[in-house]
């Protein structure tokens, strides 16, 4: 079937050829969505991975094993590291290129992709914004659920108040800032004659750690297309002078334990955070926070503020999902948005004065008490027992 808008393009992020986890997670979800889509609409649309980099051919093959039907890659020393300006130009060139599409799906009326995915991280968040500004279409951020359906829409502006069917619409669910609500965003053509306009691709950035990659299958076959990007002199004026790898300020993945705190620190925020970080040191835990803490509800010193009360530490549907061996929730009541981010943890301990807190239903040990009393005791006992425990590798 001929259509101007076809296929789902997934913008892959990688570090020198090693894919960032969210890239494979996006491919997995893309695979599931497009398989359903093709069945439902008797079509043959493709999952297309986009890769910019240098010496990335091997990565392209791997992406096919992880669910891509086609991989379009632009290989150049200029593309080794991410630079927003040149990346946006190249991705937009590819997204508008009909000849490439012919290599994996035959001759078509292709104008732009139907859907497009990016990772909701330091790179993808900004890249998705500039690419969609260039392609002049809609973008939703921080998505954790996706559905494709035909929808009847009645909208003051989009349809001039008339009910109209929008086929193959991508429903993009994002947890909102409260952590309690899910907002569904749609990107829809304006069919109101006064402002008529088509908006494709329907695009979003996807929260890392939400979707599962598919089992890689080395027998999967796909098409790899080598795209030769066009650079303008001006686009290369941003120069990377130095690049230092530093230990992540927040690194949940390489710690066996995570300690999170919530609004229960309120009686003496500064002291309590210090106490919690002391406990974290004792068992080599990374420190997480609940969503309300990232809104900086308490006055604390600059150092504590910029170290702990930051979005990168949020655990839950609007932050990171973690599953350490040990999870300690301190002064966290247990809003469902937080639970979703930590319930897969191995062993969960909660410290909370209120036995009616919902967190009680989600932990293995509930220590009833004020953190000011419990944590010093716990630290003492951990110190005491430390030498008697043998570390088994």
């Amino acid at each position: 079937m001929m259509s101007k808008y076809q296929h789902l393009y997934v913008v892959i992020e990688h570090e020198d050829g090693i894919p960032v986890p969210v890239s494979l997670e996006m491919l997995g979800e893309a695979r599931r969505l497009i398989d359903d889509f093709n069945k439902k609409y008797s079509s043959d649309e493709k999952v297309v991975a986009l890769v910019l980099g240098h010496n990335v051919r091997k990565l392209c093959e791997e992406l096919i094993f992880y669910g891509a039907d086609a991989v379009i890659y632009a290989d150049s020393p200029e593309l080794r590291y991410r630079r927003n300006l040149i990346d946006t130009k190249v991705i937009s060139q590819i997204a508008r290129n009909r000849e490439i599409v012919a290599e994996f799906s035959g001759i078509s009326d292709f104008v732009k992709p139907r859907y497009m995915f990016f990772g909701a991280d330091s790179i993808g968040r900004h890249l998705s914004s500039t690419v969609l500004a260039e392609l002049e279409s809609g973008l939703a951020s921080d998505i954790n659920k996706l559905v494709i359906e035909d929808l009847e829409i009645k909208h003051e502006h989009k349809t001039k108040g008339q009910p109209m069917i929008y086929e193959k619409t991508l429903e993009m669910y994002r947890p909102d800032f409260s952590g309690f609500l899910w907002t569904t965003i749609l990107c829809l053509d304006n069919r109101n004659p006064a402002i008529e306009r088509e908006y494709h691709p329907q695009a979003c950035s996807i929260i890392p750690g939400v979707f599962a990659p598919i089992e890689p299958d080395k027998l999967r076959r796909g098409v790899i297309v080598d795209y030769v990007p066009e650079f303008e002199e001006r686009d290369l004026q941003v120069r990377i002078i130095d690049r230092k790898i530093v230990k992540s300020a927040v690194d949940f993945d390489s710690h066996k334990a995570v300690i999170s705190f919530g609004k229960g620190i309120k009686d003496s925020p500064e002291q309590n955070i210090k106490l919690i970080s002391e406990l974290a040191k004792e068992i080599d835990a990374e420190v997480g926070i609940s969503l309300p803490i990232s809104k900086k509800p308490f006055p604390v010193s600059q150092g504590i503020n910029s170290t702990y009360m930051i979005p990168d530490r949020v655990i839950g549907t609007s932050g990171r999902k973690v599953a350490p061996l040990l999870y300690i929730a301190v002064g966290i009541s247990g809003a469902m948005q937080h639970i979703a981010g930590m319930k897969e943890s191995g062993f969960i301990v909660a410290i909370n004065p209120d036995e009616n807190s919902p967190i009680k239903d989600e932990c293995d040990i509930f220590i009833r008490g004020r953190m000011e009393d419990v944590i010093p005791l716990l630290i003492e006992e951990l110190k005491k027992q430390r030498p008697t425990v043998e570390v088994k590798k």
């Binding site: 914004s129 309690f180 965003i185 304006n190 469902m336 989600e362 220590i367 008490g369 005791l377």
Partner: protein, 297 residues
């Protein structure tokens, strides 16, 4: 587009946001934000962007303009930003037709607004990392793209070479599952900088510290009389095509809002008295067991 002299013109884009600090924020019984009862303030990330602009003023004597899109009440965000960065101009882009805009339609207004500053000769535009309410982080980079400015995100430090018209910036990039990267980049002006939450300005020389104090004093008196610096601009004055802003100019809509379903209670907790040392000792032992992988529940 940039000036060819040694002058530096900077603009800051800010947002009036709900004040999430304890005592000011109000939640409904279902845990959602009670917007009517919650006060509004200059967003925390907008404040950091204002600090970054103030650095340009202290260090390079930059002229600073602050802009925001919003209803008339949003001028309080401009006033608060002026106090932080000693702004020379305040711009409120205000028109009923701007309401309901998504990030792309908002960027269209902000682009038009920045183009009005100093006859379009802005060298650096600053924005915050993301708003506390919308939290998309998209509006900054989309405005940059529409302006045709080089976008530099997650900037933790920057300096400008006024002779060569180059900006040097450090960026903090988190690579999920790998590590963080601190990248130093150089780009010709004009640039659009979105400031990382961990940004902090340092003033090293005596002359900078003196300038800092002088401008801070000036900022205080200016903010008290902020209306003298305020310009309110509507669609027509901004020269905007009404089809590209507000609801008509937004590709996206909010289709529905629902409660996130509650996870099923999954564990049966043992309740322990937190003042009982023996019990806490046992919990400590449990923790070590779990961490050494000897007992997996």
């Amino acid at each position: 587009m940039a000036t060819t002299t040694k002058d530096l013109n900077v603009a800051v884009i800010v947002k009036l946001e709900p004040d999430f600090s304890e005592g000011n924020v109000s939640y409904n019984a279902d845990g959602t934000l009670n917007r009517a009862e919650t006060k509004s303030i200059l967003g925390p990330h907008s404040a950091i962007a204002s600090n970054a602009a103030f650095y340009a003023k202290v260090k390079y004597g930059a002229r600073v303009a602050v802009g925001t899109m919003g209803p008339p009440i949003a001028e309080s965000a401009l006033q608060q930003a002026q106090l932080l960065c000693d702004a020379d101009e305040l711009h409120l882009y205000s028109d009923r037709i701007f309401a309901g805009a998504d990030t792309l339609a908002t960027a269209e207004v902000l682009k038009a607004g920045v183009s009005k500053v100093e006859g379009g000769k802005v060298d650096i535009v600053f924005s915050g990392h993301r708003a506390s309410d919308g939290e998309t982080g998209q509006t900054g980079p989309q405005t940059a793209w529409k302006l045709g400015y080089t976008f530099l995100g997650n900037v933790i430090d920057y300096d400008v070479d006024l002779q060569s018209r180059l900006v040097r910036a450090k960026r903090l990039i988190s690579l999920q599952g790998f590590y963080d990267v601190i990248e130093e980049v150089e780009a010709p002006l004009p640039v659009f900088i979105s400031i990382d939450p961990s940004y902090k300005a340092f003033f090293n020389t005596v002359s900078q510290r003196l300038a800092f104090e002088r401008y801070q004093k000036e900022a205080k008196s200016r903010a008290e009389n902020y209306k003298q610096f305020l310009k309110v601009l509507n669609t027509q004055q901004l020269g905007i095509n009404p089809k590209l802003v507000g609801l008509p100019g937004s590709p996206t809509i909010v289709y529905k809002v629902e409660r996130i379903p509650k996870a099923k209670a999954s564990r049966k907790a043992e309740v322990i008295d937190g003042t009982n040392r023996d019990l806490i000792a046992r919990v400590a032992a449990n923790m070590y067991e779990v961490l050494e992988g000897m007992v997996i529940k």
